[in-house]
Amino acid sequence: MSLPCARFCTLATALTIGTAAAAEGTLHLFANGEALAREGFVAPELTRDGWELRFDHVFVTLAGLSALQTDPPFDAAAGGKPAATQTVVFDSIQQVTIDLTDTDAQGRVLLGTAPAPQGHYNAVVWSVVPAQSGDWAGQSMVLIGTATRDGQSVDFTLTSDATHDYVCGEYVGDARKGFVAAGSDADLELTFHLDHVFGRHDLGATDHMNTHALGFDAFAAGGTHEITLTGLHIGHVGEGHCAVSYR
């Protein structure tokens, strides 16, 4: 290699490194309650005890939203602290209450957008927290709707004031998510699996989820009930799992 070429290559390398260090894209963070939130528990996907549920609202209050690049990738089954090499804090969201029935065309609720250094965001951290204000202040989740079984319909409001902290690994779904390139957009999703709360009739009584889920029989009188969600794995990233703790 000639000396001029060597100098040129060195300069080019330096420029490349400098550009890479400053390269940013945009990261969008969504929440999704899946069809069970938007369309309800409809046959064959009734609750574990056979109720059809239709939701008017599924309010969730979120805080502490961050997307992480982790190396090694965070293993939710093992738990522990993610080895973050890059963290994007959605600090514009101190606390937000969303309605998982009020979504965009893709069934999602946009939580926030933030500039993000390029790379693969393969972990997400967030908390479900009691709302500080609003009609449901003090509650972290509120589910309002109508339940029907054997010709009997009841209106219900289920509330929870629990705080749950989630640390999730990579999103798992039809496509991998979270790849931020310079000047381009990427997205991530928090996914709420309501069948962990009510169970699924079509999975059978011995299904592990059904043996833990609340079902709906306990609320069959209608009205407002406080529900205990401790130990239920409601939050996911697509189909990907999260480590969750309740406090």
Partner: protein, 156 residues
């Protein structure tokens, strides 16, 4: 460059058959290279221990992590084996079935021979049967044990 693994050997056998059946009449022979190398073996199961039989598998190469490099289906035991090419870096494998999914990672060394496990899979979910703490168990089979050239057909 060595040939790779059992999967490749099956492919080579198929190629030999094709040559014998459709090769030019003037051909003087057919040859096959048979070698062994490392592969990545996946075992996907639910946390009940039940294998994820027939689950969809997507393999992602390090330089194109957003698009599957290989897709397939697990066998009756939840197993799936693939041979990464020479691209060094982190390979990812995603396994999905009936709303449950997990992803695992494996690092391939720059010489294409050294494979080291970087992480087990995420927990595979929950719904059907038991909480699907699915595990995609990565393994490495062999380490480029030998390279052997065998002549499988003599010249006509």
């Amino acid at each position: 460059m060595s040939e790779r693994g059992i999967v490749l050997s099956v492919t080579v056998k198929a190629l030999v058959a094709a040559l014998l059946l459709t090769g030019p009449a003037a051909a003087h022979g057919a040859f096959v290279d048979v070698g062994a190398t490392e592969a990545v073996a996946i075992h996907a199961r639910y946390d009940t221990g039940e294998p994820m039989a027939g689950a969809q598998v997507s393999v992602f190469a390090p330089d194109d992590p957003a698009h599957p490099w290989l897709t397939g289906v697990t066998d009756a035991d939840g197993g799936f084996v693939f041979v990464p090419d020479e691209r060094a870096g982190q390979w990812a494998v995603q396994v999905r079935q009936a709303g449950h999914g997990a992803i695992g990672y494996v690092a391939v060394g720059t010489d294409g021979a050294a494979i080291t496990v970087t992480a087990a899979s995420t927990d595979l979910s929950w719904a059907q049967r038991l909480l699907m703490a699915a595990s995609v168990i990565w393994g490495c089979i062999g380490t480029a044990l030998y390279f052997r050239r065998a002549r499988t057909a003599e010249p006509a």
